[in-house]
Amino acid sequence: MSANIKIKKGLNIKLTGQAALSIASLPLPELFAIKPPDFAGLTPKLLVKVGDEVLAGTPLIYDKNNENIKFSSPVSGEVVEILRGGKRRIMEIKILADKEIKYASFTKANPSNLDRKEITDNLLSSGVWPFIRQRPFGTVANPAETPKSIFISAFDTNPLAADLNFTMPGDDPNFQTGINALKKLTDGNIHLNINNRGNTSPVFTQAKGVVINKISGPHPAGNVGVQIHHIDPVNKGEIVWYINPQDVLIIGRLFNEGRFDASRIIALTGSQVKNPKYYSTVLGASIKNIVDDGGLEDGDHRIISGSILSGSQVSIYGYLGFYDSQLAVIPEGNEFEFMGWLAPGFKKYSMSRAFFSWLQPKKEFDIDTNLHGEERPFVMTGQYEKVFPMDIYPVQLLKSILIEDIDMMEKLGIYEVVEEDFALCEFVCTSKIKSQEIIRRGLNMVMKEFS
C-alpha cells in the first residue's frame, strides 16, 4: 500500500541563515491579526466590529460563499482595527491580546467516538476547519464534500524551511487525535509522507491509521502537490484534502482539550538574521518581537512570512501568515549592478553553470531580492522541466492560462497545481516570468467558470 517514491527533478537552493536547533520562548506580543488574503478565493464577511471582546476561538469572519466556514481569533482580547485595502477589501482584523489567553470552549471528546457530522461541526464552529485545504485550487476545503484522500507532508524541502522533526519531536498525543478526527472525514486513506533520508520524528513513524509513504529527492519533494501527483493524482471532478503537520496538532488539541489553541513553533531564518533560531508563538502573532529578538544586520531587507520561494512579504509591523511556520529575512536587492550580466559571478547563484559560482558546489549563498534581469517572453525551453517533477508540461500550461483557454488548462492539468508548485520554475526562469501569479490567475478563472 505504502509507496516509495524517488523524485529526481528539482533543486535544493543552499542559502545562508539556517535556524539553529533551539527554541526561544518570548512573551506573547500585544497584537495579533487574521489576514483574509492568506486564503485563496475567499470573500470574507465580518462577524465582529471594532471594540468587540473576543475569546480564542470566537469567529471573526466567515466565507460569503460557504457560510459554515468561519475564521476565528487565535487569542482573546479586543478587536482594535479592521484594515481595508483597495475596493474596501478586508486585509487584516487586528486583535489586542489579553495578558492571559481565555479560550472559548468546544466539544471535548475522543473523535473515534464521534461521527463525521459531529467532527465537522466541531471543526467548523471553532474555526479550526480552515487549516484543511483542498486540491484543486488550494482553497479552504468544502465541508459538504468528501475527499478521496487526505495528504500530510511530514517534511518541508523549501530553502531554510523549519525542520518538522525538530518542531514536532517525541510523541505528542494530539497528533494521533488529529489523525483520528481526519480519518472520519474521508472514505479513502490518510497519506502521511515522510522523508526517506534522515531520521523521522516518532510522532510520524508511530502514527496509526495512516499510510506512510517514503519520498526522497530534492525540493519540491516535500511539497504536498508533488506527493499527491505521484500517489493519488487529482483528476477533473476529484478532490483531495491536505493539511500541515503542526495544524494536525491544533485539531488534536481541539478534541483533547476542547479549545482552539493555535500555538505553533516557527523558524526565523535568512542571511539577515543575526541569530536564526526557532520560536514558540501563536498563529497570527505580530512578528516584531521575534525579529527584534533574532536581530537584523544593517541595510535594506525584506521580511517574508512563509517560504522564500512562495511566501508573502510582510513589514516589521506585520503578522505571521495563517499557514506559515517560517519567517525569513533576506537582503533587498534594489541596487543597480554595473555590467552584472557580464561579470564572472563567483558569488551569483544559478542552476545553470553560466556563472563561475559552479566552482563551489557546496557553498551556501546569500541571495537578495533582485530580479537579476528584466522580464522577457518565453525563450529558453527545458528549464522548468528540470525542476518540475510532475507529468505536466509547465510552459504549455502557463501559455494556456495566458490565452485564457480554460478547456486547455483542464487538459494540461491545472487541477493538480497551485502557486507553490511553480515556485522553482519562477526561480530558475531566464525570462523572469511570474509563473506563480499566472497560475493563480488561471485557477481563479477556472473557479469562476464553474461556480
Binding site: 522577457r376 517572453p377 508540461y393 502557486e419
Partner: protein
C-alpha cells in the same frame, strides 16, 4: 562606476513619460540595462529570490561559444586565399589578418543593420529591445560566404529581422531561426552569390600573384554533387576545417568547442545536438548501403564533418524559440533534422547544403511535433481518470 550611474540617473527623466525624448525610451533603456543590471526586485508575493541568469547572460554565452568558429573562420579565409594563390608558406598571422580584414566588415554590417531595425521597431512598437539579435548578429556572418557583397548581408539581415522575427512579435515569438532566414533569403534571391565555385574563397590576386593551376573554388559538397570524388578532402581535413565553405561552418573542432561551452553551462540542448548527429549518421549509413553515386558513398562520419552539418546541429537547430519545446519533441525534431539534411544533400544536387533547408523545414514542423507530444500527455491524463469513474 558611480559617476556613470549618476549621469544616467540625471538624463533618465528626459526619456521617461513626459520627457522631451520620450519616444527614444527603448533605446535609452537598452543602453542603460546594457551597462547596469536594473534595480528591479521580486514581487511581494511569489518567489522572493531569483536565479542570477537572464537573457543577456544567456545570449552573451552563446556569442562566446561562437568565438572559436569566428576565429578559425578568419584564419581559414586567409589560408584558403593563400592556398589558391599558391602562397603555401603564408604564416598563421598572415592568414588570420587577411581573414579578419575580409570578415570583420561582414560582422559589423550584420550587427549594424540588424540592431538598427531592432531599435526602430522597439521605438515604433514601444517595447524594450530584446537580446535575441546579439546571437543572430553573430550567426549571420558565420553562415555567409566570404565574398558576399556587404549590401547583400545588410539586405538579408534586415529581411530576417523584419520578416523572420518582428512581424511575429519579436524575440521569443518567431517561427523560423532568424539567422537561417537571412541565409535562405540570400540563397534564393541571389543564388550566384552563395553557391557555385567562386564565392567561397577570396581569390583577389595582387600584383604578381596568380591563381594556381587546377584550382577549384567549390565546396567539398559541391564537388561531391558533381561526382568529383577525388576532390573531396579526407575526413580529418574536414574535421579540422581546412576546406572552403561559409566563414564559420568549416571547422568541426571549433563547433565542438562551442558545443562544449553550451552544454557545460547548460544553455544548449544536448538532446537536440545528439539526435541531429544520430539522425544524420543513420541516414548516411542507409545511403552507404546503396552507394549509387559519389554523395551516397561518403562515409557517415565524413558526412557529419562536411558542410554546415556540425555548425547547424550545434548552433542553429538548438535555437530554443524555433526548435521543438517538449523533451520528447526535441529528440524527434533533432533526429529528423539530421536525416533530412543528409537526404537533401544526396537527392537534390542543386542544394548540396541541405542543413539549412532541413533546419528551416523542421522549424516549421516543430509546433506540430509538440502538438502531438502534448496531446499524448493529455490522453494519459484522461486515461488516468477513467478507472476511478468506473468504480
Amino acid at each position: 562606476m558611480k559617476p556613470l550611474r549618476k549621469l544616467l540617473d540625471k538624463i533618465k527623466p528626459n526619456f521617461q513619460k513626459g520627457g522631451k525624448l520620450e519616444k527614444l525610451f527603448p533605446a535609452f533603456d537598452a543602453f542603460e540595462t546594457f551597462l547596469f543590471v536594473p534595480d528591479h526586485t521580486t514581487t511581494a508575493k511569489g518567489a522572493h529570490i531569483r536565479d542570477a541568469i537572464d537573457l543577456k547572460r544567456t545570449m552573451i554565452l552563446v556569442v562566446i561559444s561562437l568565438i572559436p568558429c569566428l576565429l578559425f573562420g578568419m584564419w581559414n579565409v586567409g589560408y584558403q586565399h593563400h592556398l589558391a594563390l599558391g602562397m603555401n608558406d603564408a604564416s598563421l598571422i598572415d592568414n588570420f589578418i587577411f581573414g579578419a580584414i575580409k570578415v570583420m566588415p561582414i560582422v559589423i554590417v550584420s550587427y549594424g543593420s540588424g540592431l538598427g531595425v531592432e531599435f526602430i521597431f522597439a521605438i515604433i512598437r514601444k517595447h524594450t529591445i530584446n537580446e535575441g539579435f546579439l546571437v543572430s548578429g553573430m550567426l549571420i556572418p558565420l553562415v555567409m560566404p566570404v565574398d558576399v557583397p556587404l549590401w547583400m548581408v545588410a539586405v538579408s539581415t534586415i529581411f530576417a529581422v523584419i520578416i523572420g522575427k518582428e512581424v511575429f512579435g519579436g524575440t521569443g515569438m518567431n517561427i523560423l531561426n532568424p539567422a537561417l532566414t537571412a541565409r535562405a533569403f540570400l540563397f534564393f534571391a541571389y543564388p550566384t552569390k552563395i553557391s557555385g565555385d567562386v564565392v567561397w574563397i577570396n581569390t583577389s590576386a595582387g600584383k604578381g600573384q596568380a591563381i594556381v593551376d587546377g584550382f577549384s573554388g567549390a565546396t567539398p559538397l559541391g564537388n561531391a554533387a558533381a561526382g568529383l570524388a577525388d576532390k573531396i578532402p579526407d575526413t580529418m581535413q574536414s574535421f579540422i576545417g581546412l576546406i572552403p565553405g561559409s566563414i564559420g561552418e568549416t571547422s568541426t573542432i571549433a563547433c565542438l568547442i562551442g558545443a562544449a561551452i553550451l552544454l557545460y553551462t547548460g544553455i544548449g540542448s544536448w538532446r537536440i545536438m545528439l539526435s541531429v548527429f544520430v539522425g544524420g549518421y543513420l541516414m548516411a549509413v542507409i545511403f552507404n548501403l546503396f552507394g549509387l553515386n559519389t554523395l551516397m558513398q561518403i562515409t557517415p562520419l565524413h558526412h557529419l564533418v562536411l558542410g554546415g552539418f556540425a555548425f547547424g546541429a550545434i548552433f542553429m537547430a538548438t535555437d530554443p524559440v524555433s526548435a521543438a519545446q517538449t523533451t520528447a519533441g526535441k529528440y524527434i525534431y533533432g533526429f529528423l533534422i539530421g536525416m533530412f539534411a543528409i537526404l537533401f544533400r544526396v537527392f537534390n544536387p542543386a542544394y548540396p547544403e541541405g542543413m539549412m533547408l532541413a533546419i528551416l523545414f523542421m522549424n516549421v514542423m516543430a509546433p506540430l511535433i509538440d502538438h502531438y507530444v502534448v496531446g499524448a500527455n493529455i490522453k494519459r491524463r484522461l486515461k488516468r481518470a477513467k478507472p476511478v469513474k468506473d468504480a
